[in-house]
């Protein structure tokens, strides 16, 4: 397994965040809600972990952040995918899926036969 593919696993949270932002800008709480809903809250033990991840993505230049107003009229920090982030999501998704499915297949297997 190459380094870049290993990173895919390590940064599965990053990938999920990028995916969360792929429909448009969102603030951190919305990202957290979406992730919780689609993963059935299995990705993290604590919601707070999301924020360092978001900031790291911002430092990498995959997302950009701006202050804006939320639907209920509060000041919130909105994150948006940069073109770089979009490209990253596009290349990482199939790799990750391939591996995840392979692992899932392996773990679900019931047969010891070789072929």
């Amino acid at each position: 397994m190459g380094d870049s593919e290993l990173n895919v696993f390590r940064n599965s949270l990053d990938l999920i965040i990028l995916k969360a932002l792929s429909w448009g800008p969102r603030h951190g709480y919305d990202v957290a809600e979406w992730v919780e809903r689609v993963t059935e809250a299995t990705v993290w033990l604590e919601e707070g972990t999301l924020y360092p991840a978001l900031h790291r993505l911002e430092r990498k230049g995959w997302v950009s952040a701006e202050w804006g107003v939320s639907k209920n009229n509060r000041r919130a920090r909105f994150y948006r995918l940069t073109p770089q982030g979009k490209a990253q999501l596009k290349t990482d998704t199939p790799t990750w899926l391939r591996h995840a499915e392979a692992i899932a297949r392996a773990l679900r297997s019931t047969s010891p036969e070789l072929a």
Partner: protein, 887 residues
């Protein structure tokens, strides 16, 4: 929501505090949203905040983590932005320089000359004066001399017995080493070859800390063995770099030596011309050299013990010398001892000359800077509208300043790069010009210190030339600039003042340089026209040195030279042939005290003079007139009464010689107080202690009565003196095939060489002065031409109001001359102080010679007038209508 990039565009970078507040706000927002949601799901108002926090995790730790990432991001961004803006400035500078190729070329040429010359001179000054000697812990190495109350200030060599006592009695030195110079005739395959060698008494390898290339050095234990260490040069040249040379025998001076080592070519001790080192065997085996306490011929170096200062060691050595003077009063009358750090000894008289050079080249660089500053100022002035618009669009003062400085730094950097190439060539050329004029020059190279120096010069130059234009370019009000456009009539006065100050400074600096060059030129001419007392034209000179082993008694020496003179005299075109152990104008073998009959016998009061042996027709060969009495003849044989001929100075000063010197005839002189020589003639004075030195008393004795084995032969011919050399060589080989001729050259060439140092100083300073002068003239011309172009509108107005062409011309030239006059006045004052540095370099010329000062001042004013008249005339001749419309 602020649009993307807005904050950036408006220069509102988030501070550390802001990043922290943003993180707090963001987390607070999340918690509030979560609480709301929890409440909607039915959690009680009281439990909601705690639940939200529990789900979130450690708020403080996460906040810290986010903040750290944020600050890092911010730093990266700022760095990138700075880099980008510097890059932007560089690109802008390159573009705008490329747009004005004439300006750029002129500025680059000036900067290249200035920085190149400065780098070359720095390299030389560093390489000669500063660079440590290539020995281990060189600061502990010192040269030791005997001193004497008889000749205060003199540094005398040391006799073998005195040296041995120094070694035995001192406590300040780890090691001492005595050495002398000797010429060796190498025999073997091929023609006999004469090389310069050095006889070593002590361990040269351990005292200097230099590794031999092959084999070993000579140790003190081997002082009496016939062993030799070869230099790499001669080892390659004569022995084909044979690695098996160690242990082989070679014949030199009719003696067999065993080769025990080879030294690398970088080893140039004691002098660059020394090619081999031998033991002290020949000296120690001869009591006349090895045991005579009064025979001073060795030079001595020492390595100080760690922690011993020059003062302490010098005082101890002097005390030893004084004690030896008390113990052996006859051999050591009034003697003491002194030490000089070895590097100071090597560099010697070159230091003031090199420092003058450094000063001169610094002046050239200053003038170059002033010129480029002129050019940049003119450019800034014509770009005022552009700069004003940039300012109006929001570029800060600092930003514009930085941009203008970037431009000048880019110029300086390119000039510096080209300058290094120029310096490289310059060092080569100066080295070829006169390697012997500067000690240690052989090893001077452009090295990393030169490059460090160049970088500094570039930085300082770039800021220096860019500062005035940059300040001017940023100090004007936007509104005024835009309104006035490029005409800038309102700023003319200030512009003139700044330009005027630069012109004045340039003139002042070039005046100092020109005065210095004028003084050196005058001094050089005086030196060249010194009457040496001999007529060098038509004379060829060479060294004839027989082997002391083969010619081991006075009779053989006499016979050899008698035959040489006889054979050479009979050659065609030869007029007269003479021998001397001297070589005018600066070599004399022996200088010491002498007695005259009826004079003082107290050792400390004895007069000092040159003792010179001459043979053949020396006086005729080099054209020294006999003023009274006779010259030497064949009658002055060994068994005849001892005779002497004295020079005019001695006759007049000590023998009451009167105007013709006739009264000195028949008086007697003696060197040792026992053997008295009767004066039979008086000859005219000849320089033997250097062209610049005064003539000392001299006693000539006939070779036949005082023979010696190494003599310079002087042959006066009717034709080209060098054309006689092959037949002389043949004649001598017939007499003795092992007798080589060395140092063959015309006396004229040798006399020329003897003033090499003065010629070098003069040539280099004159070169720099010419450079400075040219730059200054171009600078003045440029300023006036530019001023005329800018002032065309004013001229038009004046003409329209009835001014005549001559009035305008006077106005323009007058404006240009005012700073020139100021510069001359300032320069004259500065020169009075600056030329003091030349005092030690000048011969027969006062460093305040009023004629030089006046001539240079007038010449500079004339050039300034001319340089302003030419463009001024063009300005005054313009059509007023065109001039008025010229906006």
């Amino acid at each position: 929501m602020l649009p993307e990039g807005f904050r950036h565009a408006f220069r509102m970078p988030p501070s550390g505090k802001r990043i922290s507040r943003d993180v707090q706000d963001e987390i607070a927002f999340h918690l509030a949203m979560r609480e709301e949601r929890l409440r909607a799901q039915g959690v009680s108002d009281a439990d909601a905040p705690a639940d939200a926090r529990k789900r979130f995790g450690d708020v403080a730790r996460i906040a810290d983590e986010c903040q750290a990432i944020g600050s890092e991001r911010e730093q990266t961004r700022q760095r990138a932005e700075l880099l980008q803006s510097v890059w932007q400035d560089l690109r802008y500078a390159a573009r705008s320089l490329a747009k004005t190729p004439a300006f750029t070329a002129a500025a680059l040429l000036t900067l290249t000359l200035g920085i190149g010359a400065t780098t070359a001179v720095f390299t030389i000054v560093y390489g000669v004066l500063v660079r440590p000697l290539p020995y281990a812990e060189p600061e502990r190495l010192v040269q030791l001399w005997e001193t004497s109350t008889l000749t205060p200030g003199d540094r005398n060599p040391v006799s073998v017995p005195n040296y041995k006592d120094w070694v035995a009695r001192n406590r300040s030195f780890n090691e001492l080493l005595a050495y002398g110079y000797n010429r060796y005739t190498l025999m073997g395959e091929g023609a006999p070859e004469q090389v310069q060698g050095s006889q070593i008494f002590g361990d040269i390898v351990s005292i200097l800390g230099v590794r031999p290339l092959l084999g070993s050095g000579i140790t003190e234990m081997q002082s009496r063995d016939f062993v030799v260490v070869l230099g790499e040069g001669i080892w390659r040249r004569r022995f084909g770099a044979d690695p098996g040379i160690i242990g082989q025998s070679i014949r030199m001076n009719a003696q067999t030596y065993t080769v025990i080592g080879v030294m690398p070519s970088t080893f140039r001790f004691p002098r660059p011309d020394v090619e081999l080192w031998t033991s002290h065997a020949t000296i120690l085996s001869d009591p006349a050299w090895g045991e005579a306490r009064g025979r001073r011929f060795q030079r001595v170096i020492g390595r100080l013990k760690r922690g011993v200062t020059y003062e302490v060691a010098g005082a101890e050595l002097d005390a030893i010398g004084r004690r030896l003077s008390v113990e052996y009063p006859d051999a050591n009358p009034g003697s003491g001892a002194a030490l000089v750090p070895l590097k100071d000894q090597l560099v010697g008289e070159t230091r003031p000359a090199l420092l003058v050079l450094a000063g001169a080249v610094g002046c050239v660089l200053l003038i170059a800077c002033a010129n480029v500053a002129h050019l940049l100022l003119a450019r800034t002035a014509s770009r005022e509208r552009e700069l004003a618009i940039r300012a109006a669009l929001g570029a800060g003062r600092g930003r514009i300043l930085r941009q203008l400085l970037t431009e000048s730094l880019v110029l300086a950097a390119i000039g510096g790069a080209l300058g290094v190439l120029l310096a490289y060539a310059g060092v080569e050329i100066l080295g070829k010009m006169s390697p012997e004029a500067v000690p240690r020059f052989n090893d001077v190279r452009i090295d990393r210190w030169s490059l460090v120096f160049t970088s500094l010069a570039v930085l300082i130059t770039g800021i220096l030339v860019g500062l005035a234009p940059a300040i001017r370019g940023t100090s004007r009000s936007v509104e005024a600039s835009v309104r006035e456009g490029t005409r800038g009539a309102g700023t003319a006065a200030r512009h003139h003042r700044l330009q005027g100050a630069l012109v004045a400074a340039e003139i002042a600096v070039s005046l100092v340089l020109l005065v210095g060059a004028g003084l050196l030129l005058q001094s050089f001419n005086r030196l060249r026209s010194v009457n040496l007392g001999v007529e060098p034209a038509g004379v060829v000179t060479m060294l004839v040195a027989g082997s002391p082993v083969k010619y081991d008694n006075p009779d053989k020496e006499r016979a050899l030279f008698a035959r040489v003179i006889e054979r050479v005299s009979s050659l065609p075109t030869v007029q007269s042939v003479g021998m001397c152990d001297c070589l005018p104008p600066d070599v004399v073998r022996t200088t010491g005290s002498f007695r005259v009959d009826g004079g003082s016998t107290v050792p400390a009061e004895l007069p000092v003079g040159n003792q010179i042996r001459v043979g053949g027709n020396y006086f005729a060969a080099v054209s020294i007139p006999v003023l009274a009495g006779r010259g030497f003849t064949d009658r002055d044989r060994p068994d005849a009464p001892p005779v002497a001929i004295v020079n005019e100075t001695l006759a007049r000063r000590y023998l009451g010689g009167g105007a013709s010197g006739a009264d000195a005839i028949e008086r007697r002189v003696s060197f040792d107080g026992e053997r008295w020589l009767t004066v039979v003639g008086v000859v005219a004075d000849v320089h033997y202690s250097g062209t610049a030195a005064t003539v000392e008393p001299a006693v000539y004795s006939p070779f036949a009565q005082d023979p010696f084995i190494g003599m310079n032969m002087f042959i006066r011919t009717t034709g080209d003196p060098l054309s006689v050399v092959p037949s002389v060589r043949n004649a001598i080989v017939e007499l003795d095939p092992e007798l080589p001729l060395a140092f063959v050259r015309t006396l004229e060439a040798y006399v020329g060489e003897s003033i090499t140092q003065a010629r070098f100083n003069m040539a280099v300073v004159t070169l720099f002065a010419a450079l400075a002068f040219g730059l200054a003239a171009i600078g003045i011309y440029g300023v006036v031409a530019y001023g005329v172009a800018r002032g065309r509108h004013e001229m038009g107005v004046r003409m329209a109001l009835g001014a005549q062409k001559n009035d305008l011309l006077r106005l323009v030239v007058g404006r240009a001359l005012r700073p020139a006059v100021l510069g001359v006045v300032v320069g004259l004052v500065a020169a009075v102080f600056a030329t003091r540095a030349l005092d030690r370099l000048l011969f027969g010329t006062s460093s305040r010679d009023p004629i030089t000062f006046a001539a240079v001042a007038i010449a500079l004013l004339v050039v300034a007038a001319l340089a302003s008249y030419l463009p001024g005339r063009r300005g005054a001749a313009a059509d007023p209508l065109i001039a008025l419309r010229s906006e």
